[in-house]
C-alpha cells in the first residue's frame, strides 16, 4: 500500500512539479561554489573593487548591495542556509509532532491529557508574536536559535492532527487483533499504526517546512536572526534597511522573495498532492 501511494505520488503532476522545483534548489545549494560567480562576502576580484549599489551589469547579473557584494552570488549561497533551516526545522517539528501524537493517541490516559492540554494551549497562542518575543530575548544570534524557536512553536498543529488520526487508527480492528494476540505495544505503534499514517506524516513535514521557511524569512527580515549570515531572509533585511525600494533596486529585493515563494510553493504542491492521494473523495473526482 505504501508502494501504491508512492506510485500515485510520482504520477501526480502537482507532486512531480513540486519535486522538480525542490530538486533544483537542492542542486543549487549543494553546488553553490561551482554555480556562483563570486564568494558571498567577496567585494573585490582581480579586476578591482566591486561597485556599491550597482545595477545589473554583465559582470554582476543582479547588481551589488550597498556593501558591494554580488547579489546573484548571495542568492545562490543563500539557498544553503535557507533550505537547511527550513528542512531541519521541518524534520524536528514533524518528529516532535509525530512522537507526541503517537504517544498521546495510542497510550491515552493521563499522558494524553497532559499532552493534549499543552497542545491546545500552543495551538491558540499565535506563534509569530511568540517567536518574536522569544527570539528578541535570545542574545546569541544565529541559525540554531532560529531552528529551535521555530520548532518549539511549530509542532502543535501537526501533533493535533496526528493524534486524532492515531486515535482513529487505533480503534481499527487490526489494532485490536494485535492486542488480542498479545503484541508488544511498541510494535503495535510502529508496525501497525505508523505505516497507516505515513501520508499524514509527510503532509505534516511539508506544511511545517513551508511554515518554517516563511517564519525564518520573517524573523530575519525583522532583524532577529544573525544579520551577517547569508540567507534570503537577511538579504531582504539589508535591502529594506538600505532603502532598496527608494533606489528603485528591484533586483535586490525581488529575487530573494521570489525564491522563498518558489521553494514554499514546491512544498505546498507536494502537500496538496498528498492530500489528493490520501483523501479518496478528492482523488476519485
Amino acid at each position: 500500500m505504501i508502494k501504491d501511494m508512492l506510485k500515485l505520488f510520482i504520477e501526480n503532476k502537482k507532486a512531480m512539479l513540486g519535486l522538480i522545483i525542490l530538486s533544483m534548489f537542492i542542486i543549487v545549494a549543494v553546488f553553490a561554489p561551482l554555480i556562483a560567480p563570486f564568494e558571498p562576502k567577496q567585494r573585490e576580484d582581480a579586476a578591482g573593487e566591486f561597485p556599491l549599489r550597482s545595477e545589473p551589469t554583465s559582470k554582476h547579473l543582479l547588481g551589488t548591495t550597498h556593501a558591494g557584494y554580488d547579489i546573484l552570488s548571495r542568492l545562490i549561497y543563500g539557498t544553503r542556509l535557507t533550505l537547511l533551516v527550513g528542512m531541519v526545522t521541518g524534520i524536528i517539528t514533524t518528529f516532535v509532532a509525530l512522537a507526541l501524537g503517537l504517544i498521546s493517541g495510542y497510550f491515552k490516559g493521563r499522558v494524553d491529557d497532559v499532552i493534549s492540554f499543552v497542545n491546545s494551549i500552543f495551538l491558540v497562542i499565535p506563534s509569530l508574536p511568540l517567536i518574536i518575543v522569544v527570539a528578541s530575548y535570545i542574545t546569541i544570534k544565529g541559525v540554531l536559535p532560529i531552528i529551535l524557536v521555530l520548532s518549539l512553536t511549530g509542532w502543535a498543529w501537526g501533533a493535533r492532527v496526528i493524534r486524532s488520526q492515531v486515535l482513529s487508527v487505533s480503534e481499527r480492528e487490526f489494532v485490536k487483533v494485535a492486542e488480542v494476540l498479545g503484541e508488544n505495544p511498541f510494535i503495535i505503534v510502529f508496525r501497525e499504526i505508523l505505516p497507516n499514517i505515513i501520508s499524514l506524516v509527510m503532509a505534516t513535514f511539508f506544511t511545517s517546512t513551508l511554515a518554517a521557511i516563511i517564519g525564518e524569512a520573517t524573523l530575519e527580515f525583522i532583524g532577529l536572526g544573525n544579520v551577517s549570515a547569508v540567507t534570503w531572509g537577511t538579504m531582504l533585511y539589508w535591502a529594506q534597511n538600505n532603502a532598496a525600494l527608494l533606489y528603485n533596486a528591484w533586483w535586490w529585493f525581488l529575487p530573494p522573495g521570489l525564491f522563498i515563494g518558489l521553494l514554499g510553493t514546491s512544498f505546498a504542491l507536494m502537500n496538496f498532492a498528498i492530500d489528493e492521494i490520501s483523501n479518496p473523495k478528492i482523488r476519485k473526482r
Binding site: F221, L236, G257, G264, N279, K281
Partner: protein, 327 residues
C-alpha cells in the same frame, strides 16, 4: 448550554495561561532583562533603577510567587509597566494609541479575506473540473507561499513607488487630523487600501483551500445526491445543503489559522510603517523595549483567544449537533 459554559471556561483559563507564559518568559531567558534595560538607559539614579525593576516586576529581592501575584494584580489594574523606548510613558498608553489602527485594518482585512476566500473556495469546489478553478487554485497556492512582508514590498514598489497611485506608508496623511472629518476618513481609507489588500490576498488562499477540501468531502455525501434527486435548485443545493455543512469545520479551524494570519499582518504593518501594533512591535524589537514587547504579545494572544471564542459561539449557532452536545 453546557457547550457554551465549557467554551467560556476555556477562554478564561487560556487567558490565564497566556498571562502566566507572559510572566515566565523573561524569567526563563538567560541574563537579567532588567539589567539590559538599565544598561540601555545610561546614567540612571539607583532609585530610578529600583523603580524600573518594580515597574517591570523584576524585583530580585522578592520571591517568584510574590512577583507573580504583584504581576497579576498590576495587570488587573491595567498596569503593564513603563515603556523603555517611550520612557517614561506607560506601556498601556503607548499601546492604546496603536490598537485601534490594528484592530480596524486587520479586522476588516481578515473578515474580507475569510468571506472572499470562502466564497471562492465554494465556487471552485462546485466547478471542480473547470480549468479556471484549477488556475485559481494554483495561483493562490503560489501566493500563499510568499511571506506577507515581501508581497507588501512588491505592492509598494509597483503601486506606490513606480506608479504613485497609493501612499508609501502611514495611516493617513500628516496634513489631516480628526478635525477634518470626512477628509480624514477618506485619507484613512486611502492609506489602508494597500496594506489591507496585502493581508486579504495573502490569507485568502488559506481559507479558500480549507473550504474547498471540506466542500469536496461534503459533495460526496448522500444528502447531496438526495437533494439533487429531489429536484432542488442549484443554489439551494450549493448553499443550504453543501456550503452550510462545509463551512462548519472551516469556522472551527478559523481560530488557529487566525493566529497565523495575525503574524503575517503584523509584519505587513512594518512594511507600510502603519502605526499599529505590528509596527510598534517592530520598533520594540529594535529598541529592545521588553515591557512593550510583552504587552503586545499579551494583547495579540488575548485577541486571538477572543476571536477563537467568537468562532466557537458561531459554530454553536450554525450546528444543531453541537448545540445539543451530540458532537
Amino acid at each position: 448550554m453546557r457547550y457554551f459554559l465549557r467554551r467560556t471556561m476555556w477562554l478564561i483559563f487560556a487567558i490565564f495561561v497566556a498571562l502566566t507564559i507572559n510572566f515566565i518568559l523573561p524569567r526563563l531567558m538567560p541574563g537579567d532583562p532588567a539589567m539590559i534595560i538599565i544598561n540601555q538607559l545610561d546614567g540612571l539614579q539607583p532609585q530610578a533603577i529600583d523603580s524600573i525593576r518594580a515597574a517591570f516586576g523584576l524585583e530580585t529581592d522578592k520571591s517568584i510567587f510574590v512577583q507573580y501575584w504583584d504581576y497579576l494584580v498590576n495587570i488587573s489594574q491595567g498596569d503593564l509597566g513603563v515603556s523603555i523606548s517611550h520612557y517614561p510613558a506607560k506601556v498601556w498608553d503607548v499601546l492604546a494609541k496603536a490598537l485601534p489602527w490594528t484592530i480596524g485594518l486587520m479586522g476588516i482585512a481578515t473578515v474580507l479575506s475569510f468571506i472572499f476566500g470562502t466564497m471562492l473556495g465554494i465556487a471552485i469546489a462546485w466547478k471542480r473540473k473547470s480549468k479556471v478553478s484549477d488556475a485559481i487554485l494554483g495561483l493562490f497556492l503560489f501566493i500563499r507561499s510568499f511571506p506577507y512582508f515581501w508581497f507588501g514590498l512588491i505592492l509598494v514598489y509597483f503601486f506606490a513607488f513606480k506608479n504613485p497611485w497609493f501612499p508609501l506608508g502611514g495611516a493617513h496623511s500628516i496634513s489631516v487630523t480628526t478635525a477634518d472629518g470626512w477628509a480624514y476618513i477618506k485619507s484613512i481609507i486611502y492609506h489602508g487600501l494597500l496594506p489591507g489588500a496585502v493581508i486579504t490576498i495573502s490569507s485568502l488562499g488559506y481559507w479558500m483551500l480549507t473550504i474547498r477540501n471540506n466542500m469536496i468531502n461534503v459533495l460526496a455525501e448522500d444528502y447531496i445526491t438526495v437533494a439533487k434527486a429531489k429536484g432542488l435548485s442549484i443554489n439551494r443545493i450549493k448553499n443550504t445543503y453543501a456550503a452550510r455543512n462545509a463551512i462548519l469545520p472551516s469556522i472551527s479551524g478559523f481560530a488557529m489559522a487566525f493566529g497565523f494570519v495575525i503574524g503575517g499582518s503584523l509584519v505587513t504593518e512594518m512594511v507600510f510603517s502603519y502605526p499599529g501594533v505590528g509596527f510598534m512591535l517592530f520598533q520594540a524589537v529594535q529598541q529592545q523595549d521588553y515591557p512593550l514587547l510583552q504587552a503586545i504579545f499579551l494583547f495579540i494572544t488575548v485577541g486571538v483567544l477572543i476571536s477563537n471564542f467568537i468562532a466557537d459561539i458561531l459554530i454553536m449557532l450554525l450546528d444543531p449537533r453541537i448545540r445539543d452536545g451530540a458532537k
